[in-house]
């Protein structure tokens, strides 16, 4: 049981100061912009909730939000089961384990723009390994810059390539923590493989899997650099995810009001979903 100690605040203080400097001031700036109208020259006028109404009612925002949820949904549906399956198939011990883990962790440490550039080079229709194989060897027409479907499949493949390892590593950490005695007991009871998975492995992985889903949700919802470098949001607007659209409005068109309102709505959605996960997770901690 934790002891009550109000002086613990002093231990947390440096963190609060540093994060507040980085979080509160910019957040207040965004809030400030979101309720004002400007015609340049640093002249601002009160605009109320007008920008919020505009953004919430705009088709462009709905489309970007829809694409964002679709993207996040698809990659979670692929990465989580795939990650668990690979973690289950990995050996529990032996000389190959560290080798596997190091190789699997590689994509996680590549700068995001390099990931985009790498997949760009990989998928070039005439000289990329994947593009050439599909187009020339297998005879499947594939050009990411022209077909929205190909562009979507490429960004999904890229994200699976980039982040499935995180799920594998988390799930694997959960698996190796299961004592051998559990498996022996299951063997004595004559439990099937599925029963072992359902009643021993899955419950033991639950906590780490929640972290995995939470992290993957947050990061895929914020994704910007990789699809921006790879497709630039195109062809057309077909892969313009929420962050890409936001940067277009904020830094490209410099529409501060709408961009700020959009930022806050965007942040609120991320926060709401993450909060739901977080409460589910901490509730579990207490039981």
């Amino acid at each position: 049981m934790k002891t009550s100690n109000p002086r613990a605040w002093f231990l947390v203080l440096p963190v609060i100061l540093l994060v507040a400097f980085n979080a509160l001031i910019p957040l207040m700036t965004v809030v400030n912009y979101s309720v004002q109208e400007t015609f340049g020259d640093n002249l601002f006028f009160w605009h109320g909730i007008g920008w919020f109404q505009d953004v919430l009612g705009s088709e462009r925002f709905h489309a970007a939000l829809g694409r964002q949820f679709l993207f996040t949904g698809i990659i979670l549906a692929i990465e989580v089961p795939l990650g668990v399956a690979i973690a289950l198939a990995m050996p529990r011990s032996g000389p190959w384990v560290p080798v596997c883990l190091i190789l699997m962790a590689m994509p996680l440490l590549i700068p995001w723009n390099v990931v985009g550039a790498m997949w760009n080079i990989f998928t070039l229709p005439d000289i990329g390994l994947l593009g050439y194989t599909l187009n020339t060897v297998l005879g499947i027409e594939y050009n990411m810059t022209q077909s929205p479907l190909a562009a979507w499949m490429t960004i999904v493949a890229m994200d699976v390539w980039h982040w499935t390892s995180l799920v594998v590593l988390l799930a694997y950490a959960g698996l190796v923590s299961i004592p051998d005695a559990y498996y022996q007991a299951a063997k004595i009871d004559g439990a099937s493989k599925f029963a072992v998975f359902r009643h021993i492995q899955l419950p033991k992985m639950k906590k780490v899997l929640t972290i995995a889903i939470l992290l993957r949700f947050m990061d895929s919802f914020m994704i910007y650099t990789e699809p921006f470098v790879l497709t630039g949001g195109g062809p057309g607007n077909s892969t313009t995810l929420l962050s890409i659209d936001l940067v277009k409005v904020a830094l490209g068109q410099f529409d501060l009001g709408p961009a700020a309102a959009m930022s806050l709505i965007y942040f609120a959605i991320t926060l709401l979903v993450s909060w739901a996960f977080y409460t589910a997770m901490t509730k579990d901690d207490q039981n």
């Binding site: 440096p14 963190v15 699997m104 994509p107 080079i121 390994l129 995180l166 923590s177 780490v208």
Partner: protein, 265 residues
């Protein structure tokens, strides 16, 4: 049984293919790249790497990135240590809300903060310095470091603290002499994650720098658009960005399985 063992092998092959292609491209001449498809470099060349190591705008990109990533890792871990201790050992007013508020900053899309960050750091005169990027990356790295360290610290029995206090250790001496060696692995893992997320982030790093502290990633994007089709050079620069990550993974290889669970197994 055999089939099952193949799954990780196929998965690793899938991971290695794009990396192989990048490495292979980096050893090709521009002529060879543009003339058509070839699985291996036909005229093996180190020209692309030579170009990077002789051009200050290129190699300074690597130095800049390394500087701000290092500063960020040191700041994040050292302020997160006492905070994580407080969260794992004590109850205090608003602790749960504070913890969640910290985590919310991990959820803030960098795209939301890009413009205000630019204005904030220009206003305090830190624009285009390493410290600006290092501080900006604290936004998401400190919460993560607190989260990871808290997980590892909660795994250390509380009796350790109590015994040390009974033995007459002061808080400071206990923390540095006894407690920190006990969570060595956790500190390593937290540092690893801070390094990783600071190293791979581009949007904020690019927004907050112009010339003096420009990260390698920004140099690459500029080359990609301005120099037209210098794919070989771009590939070589990309390959070099993988190396620091690979070195860091090698150091934490023994903690990687447990560490990725953020201490919560």
């Amino acid at each position: 049984m055999k089939l099952r063992a193949l799954a990780p092998i196929f998965y690793i092959l899938f991971l290695m293919l794009p990396i192989y292609w990048l490495v292979s491209m980096s050893f090709k001449t521009t002529n060879e790249i543009l003339s058509g498809f070839s699985l291996f470099p036909q005229e093996f060349t180190l020209e692309n790497y030579a170009a990077i190591f002789t051009d200050p705008t290129w190699y300074w990109g690597y130095i800049n990135s390394t500087i701000y990533v290092t500063i960020n890792t040191i700041i994040s871990v050292s302020v997160a240590l006492p905070a994580a201790y407080a969260f794992s050992r004590y109850r205090f007013m608003g602790d749960k809300h504070l913890f969640f508020w910290l985590l919310t900053n991990r959820m803030a899309p960098p795209a939301v903060f890009a413009l205000p960050f630019f204005q904030l750091y220009s206003a305090v005169g830190l624009f285009d310095t390493h410290i600006a990027v290092a501080l900006a990356h604290c936004l998401f790295n400190i919460p993560l470091a607190v989260w990871i360290l808290e997980g590892f610290m909660s795994g250390v029995p509380k009796e350790l603290d109590e015994t040390a206090y009974v033995d007459g250790y002061s808080f400071r001496r206990f923390f540095f002499r006894i407690f920190m060696p006990n969570i060595k692995a956790g500190i390593g893992v937290a540092a690893f994650f801070c390094f990783m997320f600071s190293w791979v982030e581009l949007l904020l790093a690019k927004t907050l720098t112009a010339v003096d502290a420009k990260p390698i990633a920004a140099t690459m994007t500029k080359t990609a658009s301005s120099a037209g089709y210098e794919l070989g050079l771009l590939a070589a620069a990309g390959c070099l960005t993988i190396i620091p990550g690979a070195i860091v993974i090698y150091f934490v290889r023994n903690h990687i399985a447990k560490g990725f669970a953020l201490g919560r197994v």
